[in-house]
């Protein structure tokens, strides 16, 4: 059968979201970012907020998120995305405003901005990609790097005496009065992807309903940084990351949304 015969509208079972453009992504094959980008694009379109969304991209691998999702973006200095988002949302209250940040950006250099934006109850969503490593700079230790995990700056494995403990910042966020929804998800299986999409939708709905700050952590793989095949990285994440960073809602004070 010819490919043109197959590519008919009636045969369409899956489509790339329209907000996700055709540029070649710089992300490594197997990286979780592509899946999360797709989900963000789908949720914005589902909410019909394409013309009213302002994203804030971080410094880290997702710095170029603005190259792939066709909405308006502001690219923040390292760690400062929640400060930008706080101001944007207060100045354009009817816009959907979210940040997209990695673990180094959010839980290390930007801890103050993260905690205070959440604690003020800013009507924003923070999407937190936790892959326990600095991907863009070449695999250094992150605040969320697990004990024993080897990185370029803890080549013999992370140890408490030298490096302290992996930071569970999402648990911290759940303690803050300003947060209405704090959840930890992943995108390593179809089921997990569907759950993560629902979580993003709930968070974005909260932002638009003025319920306060939402944080959606996505426990992710960095197969390049972890020096594993994508498949092995998923297994390693399941066996090592999930016991420490347990999936599920940590806090949900909101009413059920569709």
């Amino acid at each position: 059968m010819d490919i043109k015969e197959i590519m008919q509208p009636e045969n369409l079972v899956y489509k790339k979201p329209e907000l996700l453009n055709d540029k070649n992504m710089h992300y490594c094959p197997g990286c979780s970012h592509g899946v999360v980008h797709k989900l963000v694009s789908e949720v914005i379109a589902d909410m019909k907020m394409e013309e009213k969304t302002i994203g804030v991209s971080p410094v880290g691998c997702a710095v170029f998120a603005y190259n792939y999702i066709d909405i308006d973006w502001e690219e923040a200095a390292h760690g400062r995305a929640p400060a930008l988002a706080s101001a944007i949302k207060r100045l354009w209250p009817d816009r959907l405003v979210f940040t997209y940040q990695g673990d180094g950006d959010l839980a290390c250099i930007g801890t103050a901005e993260t905690i205070h934006a959440l604690n003020r109850g800013e009507n924003i969503t923070i999407i937190f990609i936790n892959n326990a490593i600095y991907g863009m700079t070449g695999g250094q230790m992150a605040p969320t790097t697990l004990l024993g995990m080897k990185t370029a700056t803890c080549p013999y494995g992370r140890e408490v005496a030298l490096h302290g403990y992996p930071l569970k910042i999402t648990e911290v966020a759940a303690q803050l009065e300003g947060t209405c929804y704090v959840t930890r998800q992943s995108v390593h299986t179809v089921g997990a992807i569907n759950k993560a999409k629902k979580a993003l939708r709930k968070a974005f709905d909260n932002s638009m309903a003025g319920r306060g700050a939402s944080l959606v952590e996505i426990v992710s793989t960095c197969n390049s940084g972890w020096k594993m095949s994508p498949e092995k990285a998923n297994i390693w994440m399941t066996e090592n990351m999930f016991p420490y960073y347990q999936l599920g809602d940590l806090k949900d004070t909101t009413v059920e949304t569709k």
Binding site: Y66, E74, A76, A77, R95, E113
Partner: protein, 359 residues
């Protein structure tokens, strides 16, 4: 006239009132002496109930300046204020604002340093303001008010220039002007721009991507060095235009002057008193006051250098602007510096003595 309200207030309070009146959309700040009255006055005035202006106390100056970045990037007229140590913390954000070509206003009510220094006034942040306190080849438009009236007037002027050139602007003042009370006429009210006006005036801003256009991305990042060089060249060309068109200065008793004092901000006020005293002794001296510290009035100082026998750079610092004066006159005449440090304000008679030493 209803708008011509003569009132008595501090320089810091004037900044706050002028911000509300010029249609400012947002202020983001953090307390620090000697500028805290800016945020305090805004909190007291509650402009969010009248003009709709957002006022937010941030968790740090780092956050304040990044809130300003966020607000400026979505087309809003936003500002912050701080004092020297806080402005040092803001330098990363200021560099990003300059790199992303975002209009905004940063007010530095400066104090003595280095380090935590003192809460007393100083002009020691001239280098930081005019020579690029953050990383990269960039410039700020720097205005130096010399009175409480100018504190109020320069808020609107700074925003006008910032939006005209899509460049951050700074008001560099000090604890003298920030804290002293003077009679001023508050500027008339200008309404805040509507959302439609903002989208029209700032077609580059991240306001939500309409289907009729491509996405707007506010960024200073470019990994291709050839493209990044082009961006830098474009910035430098913009700075050249600002240097040609936006120099502002004041001349005082220079018509018959044989000597000149060059001083800005609070030091210019001391300079004027010193000139009165020196002229009473028969010394023909006048003053040139740069109002824009960047762009520096280089041509005007060069021309002055051809008319006078010597220039005294009066600064409340260890000698910073004096370098720009010497460059302007190409060291063809004596250019001396006089200043006090650590929060000490020079007295006019000290300045007359310094003038005599130069003669």
């Amino acid at each position: 006239m209803a708008d011509q309200e003569v009132t008595l207030m501090k320089g810091n309070e004037a900044i706050a009132h002028a911000a509300i009146r010029c249609g400012c959309d947002g202020y983001f700040g953090y307390p620090i002496t000697p500028q805290s009255e800016v945020l305090e006055t805004l909190a007291e005035q509650k402009p969010w109930e009248t003009t709709g202006m957002v006022v937010l106390q941030a968790e740090s100056e780092v956050s304040s300046i990044n809130m300003v970045y966020g607000g400026a990037g979505c087309g809003k007229k936003v500002m912050t204020s701080s004092s020297s140590p806080g402005v040092s913390l803001m330098q990363e954000g200021i560099s990003y604002l300059a790199g992303a070509e975002l209009p905004c206003l940063v007010v530095n009510v400066s104090r003595g340093g280095p380090g935590l220094g003192t809460i007393q006034p100083s002009q020691a942040d001239y280098f930081q303001s005019c020579k690029g306190g953050g990383h990269g080849d960039y410039r700020l438009i720097v205005l130096a008010p010399s009175s409480v009236q100018e504190m109020a007037d320069f808020v609107d002027l700074a925003f006008e220039l910032a939006f005209k050139y899509r460049n951050p602007a700074m008001i560099l003042t000090d604890g003298v002007i920030g804290q002293m009370m003077e009679k001023i006429v508050l500027p008339p009210f200008k309404p805040r721009r509507t959302e439609e006006e903002i989208i029209k005036q700032c077609p580059w801003a991240a306001t939500g991507r309409l289907k009729t256009r491509k996405p707007n991305v506010i960024t200073s990042l470019e990994l291709d060095p050839s493209v990044m060089e082009e961006i830098n060249i474009r910035l430098q060309n913009k700075y050249k235009v600002i240097e040609e068109k936006e120099v502002r200065y004041e001349e005082f008793m220079l018509e018959d002057a044989e000597y000149a004092i060059v001083a800005f901000g609070s030091a210019a006020r001391i300079g004027k008193k010193a000139i009165e005293m020196a002229r009473a002794e028969g010394i023909k001296v006048g003053l040139l006051r740069p109002i824009t510290l960047w762009p520096f009035p280089t041509k005007e100082v060069a021309a002055l250098g051809k008319r006078v026998k010597g220039i005294l750079s009066l600064e409340i610092n260890a000698g910073q602007m004096v370098e720009d004066i010497r460059l302007a006159v190409e060291c063809k005449i004596p250019v001396e510096h006089y200043g006090r440090l650590g929060g000490i304000i020079p007295a006019p008679d000290e300045v007359v003595d310094a003038l005599k030493r130069m003669m």
